[in-house]
Amino acid sequence: MQHFAYSRVATLADAINAMQQPDAMVIAGGTELLNWMKEGIAAPARLIDVNGIADLAQVTADDRGLRIGALARLSDVAEHPVVRTAYPAIAQALLASASPQIRNMATIGGNLMQRTRCPYFRAEVEVPCNKRRPGSGCAAMSGNDRTAAVLGATAQCIATHPSDLAVALAALDATVHVTGASGPRSIPLVSFYRQPDGTTERETRLDAGELITAIEVPASAVARQSRYLKLRERASYEFALVSVAVGLDVEEGRIRAASIALGGVAPKPWRLCATEDALQRVTLSDEAAVRKTLTADFADATPGRHNGFKVELAKRAVVRALQMAGEGA
């Protein structure tokens, strides 16, 4: 048996203290960590159960923005009236995630800490995977890369990040608040995830012993007119083949500001900055003009042998999501 110690904490300070022990991991909803432990992906010596830290579960909102506690459950956030009206892409991304049962357990912080669904990483035995065992290689590159990244992949890893929520948060310029032994700090969500490099197993900028405490999203016109579109072959309970979160500020049919992030195509939520710039002043109903703005961001796409279709699918998804956001659909 892989033995581990289990303890519950009631305060953030106790959690941070407990996390300074070697091989400690935080457990909240447990919908992801327990999979890793069963699959042999993780073998923590200590589990710190943080579910008892009551003030980390709150969702608050005012004129300036939204603050979501890391322990808020996906289903609670998705149903929150302010989230639904002022940040619809977040509610839509959450409702497109997993299943109702999992959404009732899973937390916002845990959602951001999900790891890739790459089938090689998730295999029941170890196959070459730099995330699973650093330096072992990447079987997906020479094998079945249908679900792999077409943007931002490296020679170490071509896996995609699976979170729907993170894509919506990336588009809405969210900030991740974390706390560790040396105190609190904040990280913009767009730089929270690392691109795969020599330390592929490290996927976020969270340091050892640090804990996500909250997410902040600024209120904006773009957030209010946001939309999340998730494309997948199974109509429910499946990770995205391609997803897109967009936010729009439109004046008399012309785009004043746009914010776009893609999911399912890159190792992290992928902002389309060049597209966003090019979309300014473009007439939203001019589909050809909208489509043309995508060229630069996809110029560096690196499709593999089986996933080339994702490039075209992603472009079409962006166009469609912009139209839907424009229609208020």
Binding site: S236, G308, F309
Partner: protein, 704 residues
């Protein structure tokens, strides 16, 4: 009354929905131990060393078996069982082949110790890539007694002379059964006898396999189960995990429970193997077929002889003066495939019925009209009439229910907002597999009726239909009838598969119940009210009768096949081409229906399987690692509720006395037939893109 033809609710329903029903893995037993297999991680290799030091030292470990200490197993001659015995030598022929078995006092400890078994391999070259070299094939062995090739008439002459010719290559994917209940065995060795609880679809087949492997007299082995959490062909015949559990129980003198992990279900009891089929149709301008050629290359295994008989039933579909079907096997370093709902025609119809749709377009004919043009009431292979064919009525009722006449012929001509809408249809055919069966029916003075037969309930409704048949024959309410099944101490019955159970076992039960009634009448009973009096007159507490049934000599019978027609409507977004099924109408000709309620459930389930085949189910192989890439239900997609639209199924009933005395034919696989080609044809109608493989994926439709 609640006899034949009544919509009786499942008698096994309350136990299942309340969680009271015990499956094999749930059976509590003191002193039980837990076995966990260590699967090979290479598709073709020799085991150089197995280091057991860490595993042996792990807490709770009771025994570890490898090829070094496992007794030599006997040869198994049970048809269709896995011939490669586990843990016999250092050869690995497929990824997932058991190379060690760890037994411990808890499941968790056994699982952990199994991970500590360190196997070093000398790898040998392997071939696990079906599509890589389709020229390396061999003539498939006869399978199920059906030869690989079948032909009549001069196909090439008809092809050359034809006004219209159509040829295409069609592909189907590897698929996995993915039953909710993973296969499980509980083996107990006591006083020289082996007691096995196993979620098998065939208790007698499993008994024969284990007895032969362990050099036991079959009488020393008893195999039983009550309920099976889905089989779909994966739990038939005999597989290594059953033999390993039985062996370990005998060697250790302790009860051994072995439940496959989800990942192990992908490599331990087969799968539906990928196919590459060529169909060539020739016809006159008016649509009259002059030849059908159907050549199937199917993926096989070096560890068994399973053949996916894609073309076995093709000859029975349409009137054509010439036809030819062939099967070539391309063996791979993968585990032996198995039958999977729906095997054979379930795979072959994808090719033939998409080809028929293509031919209809080429001829400018309505696809349904083309089928009707080539309707046949005799089996073209031998001219024998079909036993009771109602396919014309299926077409007519299906077309009316579906609204087929609303279909505009041109592709991309129908839409709903941004969605392109398509209509497609398919015929379907299924030969009647029937087997000899036995049953005993008894009644006591309280009027309680008891049926005993060794058939298995795989969740299809058998536990309801079989009591209905006895209740009908005896004229008693079905709630007075109980059924004891799934046990080798009971009257012999065949494995549950091939849509055969109702015909085979049901007929034996009817025979027994009729004989019992005759005895009761002979003893003075005028009717059901007189049964107790008859028993009193005979001075017995209960009376029983044995029944039996066996299919008649096929040479003397008409051609016994079931038929049907499936109509599908799909929607495909004009920009985001991920097809969604909007509705399905299926009309089936399967003789007399025993219970319309359970039958409807079964057809609905079958259609769901067809939707999975059409749009989702594909087990990807990594040809460089020689393994199925995703051995879990997150990576291998089966439909969820959100994928399933309105499903409208019905039967055109008739009494088919040739199929069985009940007038019934089988329906287990029927619902899964024809759905995938109907959907594929609807996708073409919607989009104008012809996809000749399933599952259909967005990349197939992202063109232009």
């Amino acid at each position: 009354m609640s006899g034949i033809g009544q919509a009786v609710s499942r008698l096994d329903g309350p136990g299942k929905v309340s969680g009271r029903t015990l499956y094999i893995g749930d059976i509590p037993l003191d002193d039980v131990t837990y076995a966990v297999m260590v699967p090979a991680t290479r598709p073709h290799a020799r085991i150089r060393t197995i280091d057991l030091a860490a595993a042996t030292a792990a807490p709770g470990v009771i025994g570890i078996f490898t090829h070094h200490n496992t007794p030599r197993f006997g040869r198994i001659d049970v048809p269709l069982s896995q011939p490669v015995m586990p843990l016999q030598d250092d050869r690995v022929l497929y990824e997932g082949q058991p190379v060690a078995l760890v037994v411990a006092d808890t499941l968790e400890r056994a699982t952990h110790a199994a991970r500590l078994v360190a196997v070093a391999y000398d790898e040998t070259p392997f071939d696990a890539d079906f599509a890589a070299d389709l020229s390396r094939t061999e003539v498939a062995p006869a399978f199920f007694g059906i030869p690989p090739d079948n032909a009549k008439g001069d196909v090439s002459a008809a092809w050359s002379a034809a006004e219209v010719q159509l040829e295409g290559v069609y592909r189907t994917a590897d698929r996995h059964h993915s039953a909710m209940e993973p296969a499980a065995t509980l083996a107990i060795w006591r006083d020289g006898e082996l007691r096995i609880h196993d979620a098998t679809q065939g208790v007698f087949d499993a008994r024969a396999c284990v007895a032969q492997a362990l050099h036991l007299d079959p009488e020393q082995v008893r195999v039983s189960n009550t309920f099976i959490g889905g089989g779909f062909g994966g739990k038939g015949w005999g597989w290594p995990y059953q033999i390993l559990a039985a062996m370990a129980a005998r060697e250790l003198g302790r009860p051994v429970k072995l439940v496959l992990t989800r990942a192990q279900t992908f490599t331990s009891h087969g799968y539906q193997a990928a196919t590459h089929q060529t169909v060539a149709l020739s016809a006159q301008r008016d649509g009259t077929l002059s030849s059908i050629r159907h050549d199937s290359i199917v993926a096989g295994s070096f560890a068994g002889d399973h053949v996916e008989g894609a073309g076995w039933d093709t000859h029975a579909l349409y009137a054509s003066p010439a036809f030819s079907t062939t099967h070539r096997l391309r063996r791979l370093h993968r585990g032996n495939p198995a039958a999977m709902r729906a095997p054979f025609g379930g795979v072959g119809l994808v090719a033939v019925e998409i080809a028929m749709d293509e031919l209809a377009y080429k001829l400018g004919m309505d696809p349904l009209a083309l089928r009707l043009k080539n309707h046949t009431d005799v089996d073209p292979s031998d001219g024998k009439p079909f036993s009771a064919k109602k396919l014309r009525a299926c077409y007519e009722i299906g077309a009316r229910r579906f609204g087929w006449s609303d279909r505009r012929a041109a592709p991309r001509s129908m839409r709903d907002g941004r969605e392109l809408v398509g209509y497609g249809m398919s015929s379907l055919v299924l030969r009647a597999y029937r087997f000899a069966a036995n049953a005993r029916v008894s009644i006591d003075r309280d009027g309680a009726v008891r049926i005993e037969t060794a058939t298995q309930d795989v969740g299809q409704g058998l536990s309801t239909v079989i009591p209905q048949i006895a209740a009908d024959a005896l004229g008693v309410p079905v709630d007075r009838v109980s059924l004891v099944l799934g046990d080798t101490i009971l009257p012999v019955a065949p494995f549950t598969g091939g849509s055969s159970a109702t015909m085979s076992v049901g007929s034996a039960v009817q025979d027994a119940a009729v004989k019992l009634r005759e005895r009761l009448i002979a003893a003075g009973a005028n009717g059901p009210e007189g049964y107790a009096g008859a028993l009193a007159a005979l001075n017995v507490e209960s009376l029983s009768a044995d029944g039996t049934w066996a299919p008649a000599d096929p040479e003397a019978s008409p051609a016994i096949f079931s038929f049907g027609a499936v109509f599908a409507e799909v929607g495909v977004d004009e920009d985001i081409p991920i097809p969604r099924v909007r509705r399905i109408v299926g009309v089936y000709d399967a003789g007399k229906i025993m219970n319309p309620k359970t039958a409807r459930s079964q057809m609905t389930g079958g259609v769901v399987w067809g939707i999975g085949q059409a749009l989702l189910e594909r087990s990807e192989t990594d040809p460089r690692l020689g393994r199925f890439v995703s051995k879990n239900l997150a990576g291998y997609l089966v439909p969820v509720n959100a994928d399933i639209p309105e499903i409208n199924t019905t039967f055109v009933e008739s009494f088919d006395p040739h199929a069985s005395p009940l007038g019934a034919r089988g329906i287990g696989e029927l619902g899964a037939l024809g759905v995938a080609p109907a959907i594929a044809n609807a996708v073409f109608h919607a989009t104008g893109v012809r996809v000749r493989e399933v599952p259909i994926r967005p990349e197939h439709l992202l063109v232009g």
